[in-house]
Structures are given as C-alpha cells and as structure tokens.
C-alpha cells in the first residue's frame, strides 16, 4: 500500500479484505457450477436412456401372415380383426372386445393389436445412447454372435408414436398418450380448485383480515401446510375425495357410472388432492404478490373515495397478477411432477384407454415413469427415460405459456 493511504490507528488491511472477498467469490461460483453439473448429469442420463440400439426377434414372422400376397401392414381392418379372432384364444379376443368393441377401434389400433398379440417382437437387448455411439461395432458383433435371428435397429424411444399411443405391456408399442391426458385432466382440476380459492384466501388475509391472534394462527398454519410431505395429502385425498365424497368423485351422484369408474379413484379425486397440495403454495405466493403492490397505490385509491373492493379489484389485483401467476406456475409445476399422493389416491398403473371425463380412471406421467423404472427389463428403463423427456417438455411448455400469459398482464403499460 502506498504511503499516502496509510492512516495511523487503522489496520490498513485492504489486501486481506480483498483476499477474503475472493475466497467467497470462488465459493459462490463453485456452488453454481455444482448446480449446473447436476443439471447436465440429469439431462445426460435422461437423453442417454431415450435413444440407442435395440435388438429384437419376432415370435411370428410377419411374412407368414400375408393373405393373397397382401402383407399384413396393408391389410384392411376387417382382415386384421379376423386374423386376431383366428389367432387368439376366444377368451383373449372377448376381453379385447369388452375393453373396447372392435367396431369402434381404428384400423391403426387393430394393427397395433396384431403386432402386439401375434407378431410379438421381443426385445432381446437394449443399449443406451453413449455405448451405441461409441461402441457400435462391438454391439453389432455381440448381436450377430448371441442372437443370430435378431434384428438390430437404432431407435429413438421418444417418437411421435410414443406420445400418441396408449399404454401397452409391450415396450415396442407402448406409448404415453394415456398418461399425458391423465396428467392434463388432473392438472385442470388442480387449477380449477387451487387458483380461485388460493387467490381468494390471499386477498382476504392481506386486505381484509385484522392482525389478531386467530388470523396469525391461520397464517402460521398455511405456512406450515406448504411444507407437509405430499404423501400426507395423498392420505387426506384418499379419506376425503376417494372415500367420503365417493358419490361425487365417482360420478354416481350424476348417474354417470360406467365400467371405467366404479369407485372414487378418478381424475377428479386426483385433481382435487393435488389442488389441496398446492393450495398453501399458491396462497403464500399470492400474498407475497399482493404485499408487493405499493401502499401508495392503495392510498391513491382510498384517497379518491374508492371502497375496499374497488381498490382490490381495480388496483391491487391487476398489479399483483403477474406475481400471482408466477407463483401459480411454480405450484402447478410441482403438481405435475407429484407421484406419491397419486399412488395413494389410486392412480391406475396399467390402463390403456384415455380418460374421457372427470370420473375416468387415470394414470399420470410420473406414475407411468415410476411404474416403468420399477420393472427389471432394460427396455422399460428406456421408456421411462423417454417419458421423462415428455414430462419435461410438458412442464416447459406449460411454464412458457404461463409466462406469456403473465407478460400479457404486465405489459399493460
């Protein structure tokens, strides 16, 4: 340090202070890097599982199914149905008919059944993306040696078909349409329950409630509820929505009972359970947003003789709306990823028809992922990885649309 800066009686320790600052700078940067590495590892893992070589053998050679020289891929729906009828046991055929009458199935649906039930390609080995890229020759040699009958294909597990097909037990024809629709239906009811009630409660607590012991207890409990493990909400949902409110959640009350929903384990129950789960989060975030509206704005409004409701409706809510929406987005994102409460509420793990009403049985993407990862075969691991990508895309697109919505609100000036 230059002489002229030194003052008697002070430590003149600028160098030391700067060094301490540098240490903290490095620590903060390292924390960020750890987070980024974790994120990259996650993405790598998911993408690694979603693509790669697959070796499979067909139980029945498709060529033998050709009728009058027409290959099985090109046959009409009626031909395919009769093929199924002649190849399957009558019990298996009737079961399919009961699930969904062949008349109302599409040709593609029937063709899938043929592939699934008659041709039955069996996966014999699966490789992930990284080995598929780096050790392609070894993989080919292994397949040629161990499975001479098998065909080796580089597949993307994440395809349009994967997204658009219903769930089946065969990995090669399995899809997540059922789960995506289940997730969307569930989230719809979650939003319908949690958004109006959450925002309403936040308005009450911030603008109307007096600061007395009762309201302080309510506030504390809302904060605590936000931290309650989600499985507890599952048990709550099971007790309330599935059991106690069964006439409502199963649709019996509306005379809508059919084969798909004879109990309360429905989309509606799941949506309401997740709604309860995210309600405290939405309330807290909405309260923050309402509190962030400057007091001067309220004063301006009251100062010209506006009533409380006019002030809240015209000034507080519009200005808090971007923040409220951000909080809701976060809460909904959490709800989309929830698994445990839905297991308790009774999401179906194997279900091949789409939810069509609030009273349908359902599965959701996280449930599907959970179910597939718990299977021992590698190919289900790949299906799970592809479903995770679908879930991520679903999350990102919902968030993006919510951000657009939020920006529309805040771009009034």
């Amino acid at each position: 340090m230059k002489e002229i800066w030194i003052v008697q009686g002070f430590a003149n320790n600028l160098n030391l202070r700067n060094r301490i600052g540098t240490v903290w700078y490095v620590i903060f940067q390292a924390s960020t890097i750890v987070g980024i590495i974790a994120l990259i590892a996650l993405l790598f893992n998911v993408i690694d599982g979603s693509f790669g070589y697959v070796a499979y053998e067909a139980k029945v050679d498709p060529d033998t199914l050709a009728v009058d020289g027409v290959p099985v891929e090109a046959q009409s729906k009626e031909q395919l149905v009769s093929l199924l009828q002649s190849s399957l046991s009558s019990g298996a055929y009737n079961k399919l008919e009961n699930e969904k009458p062949f008349e109302s199935r599409s040709r593609e649906g029937v063709y899938q059944l043929v592939v699934e039930r008659i041709i039955r390609p069996q996966i014999v080995a699966v490789w992930k993306l990284w080995p598929s890229l780096t050790q392609a020759d070894e993989i080919r040699a292994t397949v040629a040696q161990d499975f001479p009958q098998a065909e080796l294909d580089f597949v993307s597990w994440l395809t349009y078909d994967f997204v658009s097909r219903p769930q089946t037990s065969e990995p090669l024809t399995a899809g997540v349409r059922t789960a995506i629709l289940g997730s969307l239906w569930t989230i719809l009811f979650t939003i319908l329950l949690a958004f109006p009630i959450g925002v309403g409660a936040a308005i009450y607590l911030e603008e109307y409630a007096f600061d007395n012991w009762l309201n302080r207890i309510i506030q504390t409990n809302i904060n605590n509820l936000a931290g309650v493990p989600s499985i507890v909400y599952g048990i709550l949902g099971l007790a309330i929505f599935v059991r106690a409110l069964e006439p409502l959640t199963s649709g019996k009350m509306f005379g809508l009972v059919n084969l798909t929903s004879e109990n309360g384990r429905t989309v509606l129950s799941a949506g309401l359970t997740l709604g309860l789960l995210v309600l405290p989060i939405i309330i807290i975030n909405a309260q923050e947003a309402i509190r962030a509206v400057p007091q001067s704005l309220r004063k301006a409004s009251y100062g010209v003789g506006a009533t409380k409701w006019q002030t809240v409706w015209s000034h507080v809510l519009p200005n808090a709306m971007p923040g409220i929406l951000t909080g809701t987005i976060l809460a909904i994102s959490r709800a989309i990823g929830e698994t445990a409460p839905l297991v308790v509420v009774g999401a179906s793990t194997a279900i091949s028809f789409d939810p069509s009403s609030p009273f349908s049985k359902f599965t959701t993407l996280p449930i599907q992922i959970y179910q597939w990862t718990s299977r021992p075969q590698d190919e289900f691991r790949s299906l799970a990885a592809a479903s995770i990508l679908v879930l991520l895309v679903l999350l990102l697109s919902m968030n993006a649309s919510a951000v657009l919505l939020r920006n529309r609100f805040s771009r009034r000036f």
Binding site: K299, Y302, G303, V304, N319
Partner: protein
C-alpha cells in the same frame, strides 16, 4: 348520511379537542381549529410533531393504514365525520387527498380521471370531465396529445398535477395536501402553488408543508404544530392564526423561533 354540499357554514371543517392515538401512543393532543371555506390553511412544524397525522384525521385516512383511534370531534359542514353512521368512504369522497409522493394509477392519464369518476357512478360526458379536470389542474395543454399514455410516463410535477386533477374530478369540497411539493423541483413547486391559488376559488385547501416560505407565500391561515411536551412526544397546535400574523407577529415564542429559523 347525506353530506350537504352547499352548506352555509363559514367553516368547512371544525376540529374540537382532537386527540389522536396510535394504539396507546397519543400522537396528537388537544387540537381545536377551524378551516375556512375557500381559503388555504397551512399546517407547519418540525418533523415528527404530527402534522400529517392531523391532516389524515380530516378524511379518516389514518385508521386505514395506521390503525389509529381518535377522541374529540372533527366536524364537516357541522356533521361529525367520526359519527357511527358515517361511512369513511363517503368522507374521503367529499374530502379529497393529494399525497407527498405523486401516485397516479398505473393506467393511462385519461383512465386516471375516468376511473375515479366512474367508481362514483359518473354518468355525464367523460371526455368533457377529463378535459375540465385537467384544465383546472393546469395540465391540459401539456398532456392533451398523450391522454392514452401511462400516468407514470410524465414528469413528477405533472404527475402531481394529475393527482390533483384526479382529486378534483369528483368535485370534493376540501382537498387535503400532504407536502405535495416536497418531491418536486422549485419550478414544479411554483406551478403547484399557483394552481392552489386558482383552486381555492372553488375548493377549500389544507396543506401540510415543511417549507415555511411556501406556507408564507401560499396560505391564508397557518397552524403551527409542535410537541406539547418532550416527555410524551405528543404534538399539538400551539398557534393558529392568519398567515401574516404567524410570520410577522406571532404570539408564541416557539412559533417565532421556528419561523425565523432559530428553532431549538
């Protein structure tokens, strides 16, 4: 309660033995004063002596944000605004307020006034009302071409005049101004003061100010506030008189010290 606008009372607001409490803390003690119609009454005094608290008691703004309670009476045209059957919203409708920091709504200039009129059920020609209000606030010429722009896009002085235009658009009898020029530069301040002289033809104005020159220049009556005693830290009006008297021939020694800059 129907507040009679064309009252014969010479004094619009009469304060009788007013005490104001924040919880248990008595912030203002024993204030009695009369606010004359179509005049400008200034409230001056050192920081923390309760000027703004007293002003906000005139239209019941205190209880909304600070949870105050009062003892005594504030009469508006002879009726107690703290009476049980009086809706504070109606009080604030008849006794408007302009704040220290300009606070236009984050809406267009036009909407700032139109919204205010609309919530009170104004049924006349809105364009006319907006123009008249802005003209009365001496702002029309500056903003007539940008009525659809945000009220926050104009300068601070213009924003404050917009707030005044907003306040007078619903034709109150009294306008309370809480240090309306303290966030403004001298030129904008001068404009506000000139505007006040115009406005007092139609309205009664009560203004709190830190700026003694402003009180001397702009007001007709001045209330001098000070802490009644140092123990309780409770403020009171120690002298209330013609502005000329307060600034040239005050009766109280403390007033003289304060207005001559020898406060201590």
């Amino acid at each position: 309660m129907a507040m009679n606008k064309n009252s014969d009372h010479k004094y619009v607001i009469e304060v009788r033995d007013l005490d104001i409490y924040y919880g248990n803390f008595k912030a203002v003690t024993g204030v009695s004063m009369k606010v004359e119609r179509n005049a400008i009454t200034a409230i001056i005094g050192p920081s923390g002596c309760g000027k703004s608290t007293l002003l906000r008691a005139f239209n019941r703004m205190n209880e909304l944000f600070a949870g105050t309670s009062i003892r005594g009476q504030v009469m508006f045209n002879g009726e107690d605004i703290y009476a049980r059957d009086v809706d504070p919203v109606e009080v604030r409708y008849r006794i408007g307020m302009v704040f220290q920091k300009p606070n236009p709504f984050p809406k267009s200039i036009y909407e700032n006034i139109a919204w205010t009129a609309r919530i009170h059920g104004y049924k006349g020609n809105m364009d006319e009302l907006v123009e008249n209000s802005l003209r009365q606030a001496a702002l029309w010429d500056e903003v007539k071409d940008k009525l659809q722009q945000s009220g926050l896009s104009i300068s601070g002085g213009q924003q404050q005049r917009l707030c005044i235009a907003r306040a007078i658009s619903i034709k109150p009898e009294v306008i309370l101004m809480d240090e309306p020029a303290s966030a403004l530069d001298p030129i904008a301040t001068l404009k506000i003061e000139e505007l006040m002289q115009e406005l007092k033809k139609n309205y009664t104005i009560v203004i709190v100010t830190h700026n003694m020159q402003q009180a001397a220049r702009a007001s007709d009556y001045t209330a001098m506030m000070m802490l009644a005693d140092r123990e309780t830290r409770s403020g009171t009006v120690i002298e209330f008189d013609d502005t000329k008297v307060i600034f040239t021939n005050p009766k109280d020694k403390r007033t003289e010290d304060y207005v001559t800059g020898r406060f201590g």
